[in-house]
């Protein structure tokens, strides 16, 4: 049995939507902050949610904002 058989089509649509949404958000936000938009965008299309976490920690530096 393949992996495709284990997941219903709604699940695949959801996975693709998540990856596409994540990649697009990363691409646009990195573009706004001039921080390698293509790298972040393509990485965001491959997997989730590691790219978003790494992006928020390295580029957006959310831990610094919380300290303030």
């Amino acid at each position: 049995m393949t992996t495709q058989g284990q997941l219903p089509w709604e699940g695949w649509v959801l996975v693709i939507a998540i990856l596409l949404g994540q990649g697009t958000w990363l691409f646009l936000d990195a573009r706004k902050h001039s921080a390698w938009p293509w790298l972040w965008g393509i990485w965001g299309l491959i997997q989730a949610p590691i790219p978003t976490i790494v992006y928020l920690l390295t580029v957006r530096k959310i831990w610094k904002r919380k300290k303030r």
Partner: protein, 132 residues
Amino acid sequence: MSRDRTLGDDRKGLYSETNSLQCDPISRIEEFEVRLQSSLSQLDSTFATSEPDFKWFETLIHETKHRERSRLRRDLALFWCAAVIILSGWWMSIIQTATVFLVVLLVASIGSLLASPIIVWITMRQHRETSA
């Protein structure tokens, strides 16, 4: 009487002198201000500056916004083209064999985890350079 009168005259002269000394700095400042103003107005008249039209600013803003929007649309279209290619490849790898997909996922995960410290280091360096 005459001695008193001369003393009084002397005092008046002394008062007028001290008065002139006290007024002098003020009058000098006033004179300086007048001269400065006249010189500045002369300078203004020498270099005629033409104030740009308000419409010019509006068109500049409009053009810049339009350029930025078209650039964003182009970049986004390119990114979505790349996304279609990547996601279809990803989809095909799942359909063909789960092992190919798992290998790709594993390679991507290991590669990204290995690349993370390098990305962190480079971004930190960039931030340090921009803040310095």
